[in-house]
Amino acid sequence: MKADDINKILILDQGDPVAGQLLTKAAAVFGEKTEYVVLKAHKTHNIALRMMEQTVREENPELVLIGATALGEEIAPALGVRLRTGVAAHCVDIRVNDEGRLTFLIPAFGGRVIGEIFIPDAKAGQPAIATVKPGIFQQRISLYDGFCRTDIGPAPSVRIIDADALAADGSIPEGSKTQGAFRLAEITPRQRAASDIACAELILCGGYGLGNEETWHKLEALADKLNGAAACTRAALDAGWGCTEDTMIGTSGRAVSPEVYVGFGISGAAHHTCGIAGAGRIISINTDKDAEAFAASDYKGVFDAEQVIDALLDQIK
């Protein structure tokens, strides 16, 4: 499909910043000649899926954008089969190539390889569908108040269809407590980190090279003092030092774009570094002078992580 063929874009708003990120990106790529429709259907599976299917049939968009959250990752591929069309998964970019074709850049092998994906036969009502992880695109347009970044640029005119499945008090109405033939029996909150890494301007990330729980806690304390957030790699999470999963960055964790990211004791596997591609400055501290992490950094230091953390704590006293 040519980018010029895209007259209408439908975005699913699941009640998190990702819809604003998708709209920001779409507006930058497709500009004002395209119509933007946002379906607000917060957080319940059966309703969001059914409403998306119905809205595509009524609105006939050529492109559908969905955040790759735990919910979005179920809605998008299901929609693809129902509408008999292709789904581009976890785009790290959406572009128009030299021939004017709509091009999705998709990571594989945990981000070690990027592939171009086209959905050539997509058309109105049988749209190209793409998912994007939260945090991959920056948000410069906010749909509503309350997300981390506020209105920065001029927003394109957006039509919002309110199909909110949540009741006014935020509770889930009885009729939507299902997924397929299964019933939602219980909802329990997850253990959350003290600060949210998605909105943080400074992230201090700890890897397995921190070596022990004590150093991890030092890193957390340092992040706190610097008004930043502490994050971790999968190896650090698995080490059981008390890092929480919602602060893990990478393919199976989150994507972040802070102004400054400092990594301590991180080898730099693509699984991790693909989650920080959008960061402003990247600094890496690693005792191995050949660490792969350095190839993805603006500044490097071949030092012991704990010594640098101690020096930082010392200097901000």
Binding site: D16, A70, E74, V87, P120, Q179, G228, L312
Partner: protein
């Protein structure tokens, strides 16, 4: 206790430990797979372990566990490994015509095989278990899309599956799904397709006894003619997404090394943080 029938979708993938060395052939623009060791996709292995634990509870009626893969013929040994871990039967879908399939064509073909296995065995699988996300493609589509083709319930990102009333003969399945903010507990009866995550269990190792037993277990290979499918929906031809160029990502960053001591590094880091206005 009820005996469960479970099918596991099992994907052979290049060894994730060797991904660092992954090469792109500059001529064809494809990933070089020759000489690369292949293994069972990690989350597929978790799915198989979950199936074995659910269907083969000690003391209960042993259920039936089958493994299904769509992969080139040389990946047959990965199914033998699944049999050695404890699966009862294995099916390999292998045909040039299946090559280059995106997730739409992959799931369409897998769903056709599910129907054929169910017809031949005269059963319906209570559960189809898969990984949520494979280590190579990693789209997280296949479990969901296979369910859609079969018209069954799907739940992904599942970190726990229990059968709360199986001792009383009940068929209730309880699955806990992890989402960003909450854990969602779903209950229902099969059939359903569930995508599991890596923390659901620790897969068992293959034993020598398992390998001996695996030799006697059936491993069936089917090609496109064995399945009731529309050939226009299989393989690259049947894929609505088409691949273009493949490349290794460029970070566009070149690391400066301005500091001589940890103290200098600390001062430099604070300076950069200050410059960024934080």
């Amino acid at each position: 206790m009820m005996d469960m029938n479970i099918l596991v979708l099992l994907k052979p993938v290049p060894d994730p430990e060797q991904e660092r060395d992954i090469q792109i052939d500059t001529g064809s623009g494809r990933i070089v797979r020759e000489g690369v060791k292949h293994v069972i996709d990690p989350e597929s292995r978790n799915a198989l372990e979950a199936a074995l634990q659910l269907a083969k509870k000690p003391g209960g009626e042993p259920g039936f566990v089958a493994a299904l893969a769509m992969a080139p013929a040389q990946m047959k040994d990965k199914l033998t490994e699944a049999l050695a871990m404890g699966a009862d039967e294995a099916y390999l879908l292998s045909d040039k015509a299946f090559g280059g399939a995106d997730t739409y064509a992959t799931s369409y073909t897998l769903a056709a095989a599910v129907r054929k296995i169910e017809a031949e065995k005269e059963l319906q699988f209570d559960l189809i278990l898969a990984g949520t996300s494979s280590s190579d493609g990693g789209t997280s589509h296949v479990a969901v899309q296979t369910a859609e083709w079969l018209g069954r319930t799907h739940i992904s990102n599942v970190c726990s599956i229990e059968l709360p009333d199986s001792a009383a003969g009940g068929a209730l399945i309880r699955a806990v799904k992890r989402s960003e903010e909450v854990m969602l507990t779903f209950e229902g009866e099969g059939p359903a397709v569930i995508g599991v995550t890596r923390d659901i269990n620790k897969p068992r190792l293959v034993t020598a006894m398992g390998i001996i037993k695996a030799r006697k277990k059936p491993l069936t290979v089917w090609n496109i003619e064995d399945l009731v499918i529309d050939p226009d929906k299989a393989g690259l031809a049947g894929s609505p997404t088409k691949p273009g160029r493949l490349f290794k990502p460029e970070t566009g960053r070149t690391a400066k090394e301005p500091w001589e001591t940890p103290e200098e590094a600390a001062a430099g880091i604070l300076e950069i943080i200050r410059e960024a206005g934080i």
